[in-house]
Symmetry: C2
Subunit: 112 residues, 2 copies
DNA sequence: TCCATATTTCGATATTTGTCGAATCATTGG
DNA sequence: CCAATGATTCGACAAATATCGAAATATGGA
């Protein structure tokens, strides 16, 4: 069951510090943010931050790269979009999903 | 903290049976699905299903209505879209982030 | 009213998850 | 090589979560 991958992603995001960290990374873009900076911004001990970042990485939501002594984390937009596509899959049974307030007003159209 | 609401939503979805149930509801549309039908389809005891549906409802992801003896659950598309909007807020620092645009800096497209 | 159906609430229990200090690992600069 | 810095792993504990049967709560039909 590949739903497991999405459950890991959702679990990863379903936590105060991780959600905040992920949003910071989403906003930071490609540039990314160092682990220590995230820990400081979120006022979380480095060990805890590391624990959380590992979960985000395990879920495939973030990528990491070393830059000198720092490890820079970045949001993986493809993974994020994949998750949102999964949630809205076959929305409304594939029927008219653009009508009124029903399904997806936002640009999350996926199939085809 | 307004983020609490989104954490509840993500926690609600971060569970095998709830994610499956929610997706079924998303696909079912306004018509919705009865609690018992969901329990049967997902092969989960009614009490457990009820427990999970309560969490989805508490997170505001689903609504319920009585129809004769059954309680019909439906996905709340507005809540779902709100959640997705929250995740992508100020994506890339506010630059152009529309779907096929540049929210995907890394060219690692998977299954589009 | 009585009974069957549909669902939820209540417990107890097992499992998972979050926290954080100490120790460890990796990198840089002197 | 050594000390300092940035980050992760480990271990123990606390807290939250999932499970499911039994009992309770609605509803509908005879």
């Amino acid at each position: 069951m590949q739903a497991d991958r999405f459950i890991r992603a959702l679990s990863a995001l379903a936590q105060e510090h991780r959600l905040a960290a992920f949003r910071l990374l989403v906003q930071a873009g490609e540039q990314g943010v160092a682990a220590g900076v995230l820990a400081e911004k979120l006022d979380v001990p480095p060990s805890s931050m590391s624990f959380h970042l590992a979960q985000l990485a395990n879920a495939g939501l973030v990528t990491q790269r070393r830059e000198s002594r720092s490890i820079i984390y970045s949001a993986d937009y493809a993974a994020m979009n994949g998750l949102m596509g999964y949630l809205t899959e076959n929305c409304c049974g594939g029927m008219s999903c653009s009508e009124d307030a029903d399904c997806l007003p936002s640009p999350q159209r996926k199939s085809a």
